[in-house]
Amino acid sequence: MYAFTFHRPQTLRQAVGLLAKNEEAKLLAGGHTLLPTMKLRLAGPPQLVDLSLVDGLSGIELRGRSLSIGAMTRHNDVNTSPVVHEAIPALAKLAGLIGDPAVRHMGTIGGSIANNDPNADYPAACLGLGATIITNKRRIKADDFFTGMFSTALEPAEIITKVSFPIPKKAAYQKFKNQASRFALVGVFVSKRGSDIRLAVTGAGANGVFRVPSFEEALKTRFSPKSLEGMSIPADGMNSDIHGSAEYRAHLVGVLARRAVAEAIGK
């Protein structure tokens, strides 16, 4: 690790101010992505702005027809929250599939989506549920937020404060884990809210999380795994590495999509 200055602002305004003043400063949330890269000297921000004491950044709240989760809410809190279990059980399950207990007690939803790791789980939920990412400046639709691997629509000195998930009628997440890292080799999140059907894929794409319009169309006719029978997506644009070829990942998208739909309809 390189030396850095550690800031612990109490308010969002102070945090934004610190970011604005120090161009290379980094926000610190759960630290479970940022700190390992700093320990390996792959990152060396001269300033860290810790969000843990900033008021109002964590917590889970039901607001009308949507579920709002504060950026600093830990994966474990989402996983064990009765409110989430009631409103979007698939989201609670997803949080419980992230890493191990140590990771889930430290890692945060804001950190996860800001980081937009191509194999992370939350981006699939955000895109698959049509979430809105709320920052100190604006509201960003998930469809516009994830802009490629490890990249997002966030601007300098922009801080995620919460994520708002519309409550679906049905939803499910299927994760096929990379055997080593246990991140998603492929993960598929599907949801149905009225006629709005979304199916988002993480892990597989060379460019990060993406939706599968052809699957969504097919599911609009009938929300059943049968509607996806025999359907697949092209291997083009899929990631390929020692853990699986592009063809394998494309194949898994189909398998997991069918399983997710089956789970969503309780089969």
């Binding site: 690790m1 000297r41 055997q179 080593a180 070829s245 898994l252």
Partner: protein, 788 residues
């Protein structure tokens, strides 16, 4: 059986300390004035070191010294060595290339250390290391053992043309060929035994201190054999005379072989500590462990097994290319030869066997012994061949095994091993019954109804442990004897210290060795302390590996106890005023036969030290005896493991859903610890078969250099194990122990892959059978569950 003696499942004495974080490892030790050392390692697999410019780093804060391989070479220390000479077919000795602790001139693998920075803190050392400019000329690299000896492959060491270390063989080629000519069926297979990264929980570590007053050096080192480390660093590297070098291996958190070897880091720490007159500490970071701990396995093999018309094996031919990496590690030469080919008869009568092994250098991390060392590779060859033969011949694999088992002992194999005792069919039959083999067809149908493919696989493995008879290993080229030592030191109050040359790094010696002693002397287990791991405290010993501590180390303790008891009886005779011949020692009491006169163990111990009541001209005061025990043969643990897998054809995931292990370890000292060793060994074997994939790219970069990419087995990768035993005593040692530490890792890979290939209906898949590779195999065979 007593509540604490041999056969009792006594709880491990050491666990309280380990589980509550009170273990004391090398990295926990800090010395006054200590500095941190950081190794600058080659990022290239093969590169000439053109220049190293340290001027920008020298003045950095906290820096105490920066040294390069060239400076190390100026001190004319010796090289690291491989201590076991293997001869090629033509009688020429193996081509051992020089291995300096710091590379000068050329780096030969990613991770090869080329310079060091020593500073007050590790962060300072790292900061300065970034300013050390190393200019490399990158050379073409070779990583694939099958390509290393090819014409035109980059040459790694001048002394080894074609990168070939030796072309070794064992057995009679003409007789084996003749057996094949007359055979009615031949099964042929080709496979890769995948390279593994050891991954002990505690990374390697070294702390070196120089005492200028006495001119002596102390090395704290995560080592499985501190005395051997001292011997090599003294006699071969020439760091210091043996009496001026103390090596301490305190608590050590796992080794699996990787901490047997003498590595560059400990040598450099000692050298730097003396040069700077300052303690110097190094603890590997995990990413360093991946590129410096000696790896395991890495064979490419072609093998054929021949049968007569009755299904009897008549011959076996094996050709193996063994990748030894960039340098020959301490015992690397013996692993793919004497620890491998000598086990190729498996549990079977195979009249003719011929094995050729070509060992090669590549631009990869050195390869050496890793849990099982040679024997998992041999068991994989034999058990895969037998299983596939059964499929080809249409014979039940259990029946084919039974038909070919060695049934009479002793049995001289055609590959030098002399099996002393065993009952292979007993293990097989017991395993079949426990596993409910008969119920497999039904379980398979159930799986198929759920859209899954189910397979079953056997491994009737044998291994050679209890290393080893010294003169025998001497004839085979070993540079050392492989006896073990013990000292039993009785204190005046009757408590006991046992000093052993073995070293525990997870095996539970503090408990099992104490069980033996406490039971024998009739004292409480808490009254026995087992001391190991410090060359200043313990007499010379050979350390722990090759499942040797029970069979060899405990035998030495038995011999020392015999002497203690004999002397204590003499003293008791004087105390009780009786003839020595009439003294009976039982349950911690010396009794005069036929009388009620007795003396307790503690009284006799005190008597020995007070020395009032016996003539010290005849009997020396004190009660302390030692023994050096040399085994007369290897021991041969054997058993039968059955694995059942369920494959999801949609994802390619192979889940281990059933495991039965029936092992014959001879006498079992502590069944709970032994069962734990089986669990751990099987977990490692399942890891090799399904998860652990060491991948280098063609440039020699390790792609799987962290846990993001290298999959270790975890609890949820494993089923509930059914573990049982059969027992035939080992005739060659006093306790009848065979050893249990490696068995699981030896049996498991073959059992898993036999099950996976059974499920898939194709033999064309190598380890690890990852979901992606299983899925790819299924794309080729188009096999689907019947009911689907």
């Amino acid at each position: 059986m007593s509540a604490i003696g041999i056969g009792a499942a006594v709880r491990r004495k050491e666990d309280q300390r380990f589980i509550t974080g009170r273990g004391h490892y090398t990295d926990d030790i800090n010395r006054p004035g200590q500095a941190a050392i950081y190794f600058i390692r080659s990022p290239h697999a093969h590169a000439r070191i053109k220049t190293i410019n340290k001027s920008a780093a020298a003045g950095m804060p906290g820096v105490a010294g920066i040294f390069t391989g060239t400076e190390f070479a100026q001190d004319k220390l010796g090289n690291l060595i491989c201590g076991w000479t293997v001869l090629s077919k033509d009688g020429s000795p193996m081509k051992m290339a020089p291995h300096a602790a710091l590379a000068a001139g050329k780096a030969n693998h990613v991770g090869d250390a080329v310079a060091v920075v020593i500073a007050d803190t590790l962060a300072q050392a790292k900061d300065a290391a970034e300013k050390v400019k190393v200019e490399y000329e990158v050379l073409a690299a070779v990583v694939d053992p099958a390509k290393a000896a090819a014409n035109g492959a980059p040459l790694i060491h001048e002394v080894a043309p074609n990168n070939t270390i030796y072309n070794w063989h064992l057995g009679d080629p003409a007789a084996t060929d003749a057996a094949f000519r007359n055979a009615s069926h031949v099964t042929a297979l080709e496979f890769v035994n995948n390279r593994l990264v050891p991954n002990a929980m505690e990374p390697r570590a070294a702390l070196a201190e120089y005492d200028a007053a006495s001119g002596s050096l102390t090395l704290w080192n995560a080592s499985q054999n501190p005395h051997v480390a001292r011997l090599v660093i003294s006699a071969f590297v020439g760091m210091a005379p043996e009496n001026k070098l103390r090596v301490v291996a305190p608590d050590v958190g796992g080794g699996f072989g990787s901490k047997i070897f003498i590595y560059p880091e400990e040598v450099v720490c000692l050298w730097a500590a003396r040069k700077l007159n300052r303690p110097v500490k190094w603890t590997a970071e995990r990413s360093e462990s991946f590129i410096t701990d000696a790896h395991g396995r890495d064979h490419v093999t072609k093998a054929q097994m021949a049968f007569d018309g009755e299904g009897k094996i008549v011959g076996l031919k094996v050709h193996t290319i063994a990748n030894l990496g960039a340098y020959m590690s301490t015992f690397s030469s013996a692993v793919p030869t004497f620890l491998y080919a000598t086990l190729l008869s498996g549990q079977y009568e195979i009249p003719h066997i011929y094995c050729e092994v070509d060992a090669v250098y590549t631009n990869t991390v050195p390869v050496d012994a890793y849990r099982g060392a040679g024997r998992p590779e041999a068991a994989y060859v034999v058990e895969r061949l037998v299983e596939v033969s059964a499929r080809e011949l249409g014979i039940d694999p259990a029946v084919l095994r039974e038909k070919n088992f060695v049934k009479k002992f002793p049995y001289q194999t055609s590959v030098a091993s002399l099996y002393d005792a065993g009952d292979f069919n007993a293990s097989l039959q017991k395993a079949l019954q426990i596993h409910d083999y008969k119920g497999f067809a039904k379980r398979r149908r159930e799986s198929e109804r759920n859209g899954k493919l189910r397979g079953i696989g056997f491994a009737s493995y044998i291994e050679a442990c209890g290393v080893a008879p010294s003169s025998l290993v001497g004839q085979l080229g070993a540079g050392v004897g492989l006896w073990e030592s013990a000292e039993v030191r009785v204190n005046p109050t009757g408590s006991v210290e046992v000093l052993t040359g073995c070293h525990a790094h997870g095996q539970g010696h503090e408990t099992t060795f104490a069980q033996l002693v406490a039971d024998r002397l009739g004292i409480a287990i808490d009254q026995v302390n087992v001391l190991h791991g410090d060359t200043d405290i313990v007499q010379f010993g050979m350390g722990t590996y090759g499942s040797r501590s029970g069979a060899v180390g405990m035998s030495a303790i038995v011999k020392a106890l015999d002497k203690v008891e004999a002397k204590a009886k003499k003293i008791a005779a004087h105390l009780l005023e009786a003839a020595e011949a009439d003294i009976v020692f039982k349950d911690g009491k010396f009794t005069v036969a036929g009388t009620d006169k007795s003396a307790a163990w503690g009284e006799v111990a005190l008597g020995a030290y007070v020395a009032h009541k016996f003539p010290t001209s005849e009997i020396e005061p004190g009660l302390k005896e030692s023994s050096f025990y040399d085994p007369t043969n290897f021991t041969f643990p054997a058993g039968c493991h059955i694995c059942e897998v369920e494959v999801d054809p949609d994802t390619g995931e192979a889940a281990v859903v059933g495991w039965t292990a029936v092992d014959d370890f001879g006498t079992v000292v502590n069944p709970m610890i032994v069962e734990g060793q089986v669990h751990g060994g099987v977990a490692q074997g399942v890891g090799q078969a399904l998860l652990e994939h060491t991948v280098y790219d063609d440039k020699g970069q390790l792609i799987t250099g962290s846990y993001m990419d290298y999959a270790m087995p975890r609890a949820d990768n494993l089923p509930d194990f059914k573990v049982d035993m059969t027992v035939t005593r080992c005739p060659s040692n006093p306790l009848g122990i065979k050893g249990c530490g490696e068995a699981g890792a030896i049996a498991a890979p073959a059992a898993v892959m036999n099950a996976v290939t059974d499920a898939l209906g194709t033999e064309a898949i190598d380890m690890p059978a990852t979901p992606a590779s299983v899925w790819a195999a299924l794309q080729r065979t188009n096999k689907l569950p019947r009911a689907a």
